[in-house]
Symmetry: C2
Subunit: 412 residues, 2 copies
Amino acid sequence: MANLIAGNAVIGQSGGPTAVINQSLVGVVEGLREHGAGEGGTIRKILGMRHGVRGLIEDQLIDLSAMETERLERIARTPSAALGSTRDKPDAAYCERIFEACRRHDIRYFFYIGGNDSSDTCRIVNELSRQAGYELRCFHVPKTVDNDLVGSDHTPGWPSAARFVAKACMADFMDNISLPGIKINVIMGRHAGFLTAASALARRTDRARSTDGPQLIYLPEVPFDLEQFVHDVATVFDEKGRCHVAVSEGIQDKDGNAIGAMLIQGEVDAHGNVQLSGSGALGDQLAGLLKAKLTPEGGKPPRVRADTFGYIQRCFPDQSEIDMREARGVGRFAARLAVSGDLDGSVAIVRTSTPGPGEAYASEYRRIELSDVAAKTRHMPEEFIDGTNDVTRAFIDYARPLVGDLPQFERL
Amino acid sequence: MANLIAGNAVIGQSGGPTAVINQSLVGVVEGLREHGAGEGGTIRKILGMRHGVRGLIEDQLIDLSAMETERLERIARTPSAALGSTRDKPDAAYCERIFEACRRHDIRYFFYIGGNDSSDTCRIVNELSRQAGYELRCFHVPKTVDNDLVGSDHTPGWPSAARFVAKACMADFMDNISLPGIKINVIMGRHAGFLTAASALARRTDRARSTDGPQLIYLPEVPFDLEQFVHDVATVFDEKGRCHVAVSEGIQDKDGNAIGAMLIQGEVDAHGNVQLSGSGALGDQLAGLLKAKLTPEGGKPPRVRADTFGYIQRCFPDQSEIDMREARGVGRFAARLAVSGDLDGSVAIVRTSTPGPGEAYASEYRRIELSDVAAKTRHMPEEFIDGTNDVTRAFIDYARPLVGDLPQFERL
């Protein structure tokens, strides 16, 4: 074991909560305990920031050092951020305050669980501590339902959200067969389409999208054209008398304008910010458009419905087993790095098996540089995208093992 | 066993699908088989209507007689209506066509799984057959996520939907604690508040709504007042810096006007019918109202989000065990009545235990008259409603055993 500076450790959670972010919190605590944290050890106290770095700079800290294992286990299995989260994106001055708070509380180990903004916070705080000659070990622990962190095969939080999306789309597709019509499901992911793409897992593996839905999947990575959209839906609807569609909340046109913001501009200006999650506006506008365009002359409009999956998709308590294990694992791994001589870093999940049928899933953790993750966004790679409205077999092989067992449905 | 007229049996599914309506379909098939259906028996063929009575009058029938048990079991566990459903509400002339189709196909046993409209169809078809002196045994098998059938303790379909609502609200409340703000969840139930009321199961049993959400629950049975709503939310928000709200899609003002239709009138007129499910409009309008009213002068609007649970709540594949068992049971019981001499009827679920902590849940099935169920709507009884924005302990004791085990969450 490396020479460790004695002091306290602090852990924070940032950004949108997930169904497994508390696994990572508990993983860090466990990892620190395994390496001698506690009364009289090198790592003295294990502190939690209330609502992320906002709580740290305001001295709102909670002592997790003595928390019993059973309670930690229950917290690990609880969705949402148990410490509280924040949307603050610290700039240099804010990071200075974070660093000062670390000094004030004798913190030598800093763990921040979050997305690419959180890794950037770690990076800046780490630089400040180096400049000041104050040894502060800064580790980013990855989390995001968007799966948009670079350097990882996938990110904790996404498999569980993908599981919810797959199960919801499976069942909703059956509902759509029972009472036919056009059904749009709007799915989270402002810049990356991974979560919307998970709707394809609702199809039986051996079937084409002609028999199983969703028949159309629209990702933010592929320029969205309203006329083409109407044409795509009309084609499926004409053939089948129904159509099941998955749409990312982040779809944008060829010039990068968000379709949601364009369609709901009028209403949004009246009430405040452009906001995609926590609103059904995009789905309702697309449904209205389809009704208007697909009503036969003198005839009745088709039955068109839109659901927006909303916050449930990131917090529903039906976590993927692999996701729970890995979310815990990245936290424990970060703690291990910190007490083994590394001064900073993030953790990547590396898949060690080849995606494909019959292949047992395996992965391992690796340290990567904070600057490799910080403030970067990963998008769906080309090999996962099929044309303008579908995903490929390669994506399904990639995603399938991560979400765990799905129910088996039967049709007449 | 009574003297049975030889002939075919037909089964149909009607109205909105549920997560357990296929259990009832399989229950009827099982019940008929147990009593001698099949080749050479009194009940010759077991037929399924494609998309309810619409399929029957159009001779779209499927022969279920020889279907293997394993496949039936898989169908039973699949959400949605496996035979297909319909929204048709037959009038007298339509029922005449149904009766004619029964004669044409030598049908002597008629089972219709659905809500109060379906029991009314059974009632009319049964009268027509009596008038014609054609022995046709007509049975209604109860189903609805709204829980609004009279004569029953509860209705198959509702416990599973209530389970989804409870779990979604549990997790979403934790999300709301993590990233505070005002969160509105819009829940199904146009005339009856039972499903919205199930959001109260998200609270820990031993805690008041001051510690656990949702803090406010709005039912269609209680006149909704927009000013009072804003005041209620502001009071909780001022105290806690957050507020978690469950709203029925069917809320109406003191004169019985639907709030959803009133708020979204402009948009709805442009596209067609007033439509509550499959749209986020009510939630978005309520959220917009709160933002506008609760923005401090010269300040930032509060964070307000609205999710509409949508069709997922009636089909999510995480059924309540009791609901699966009872949905199967009411189907089997209806078949048993039909082959035991009864000419018509519906099936009620009667609770045989007293609701309350520590009481093991028990129920039994009873035959009731079609006219006792037909075209009537049950509402939340007064003893389940607490003031203008909550449910009582009696409701929670009533609902809790039906939804099955809920996850245990832990907080810091």
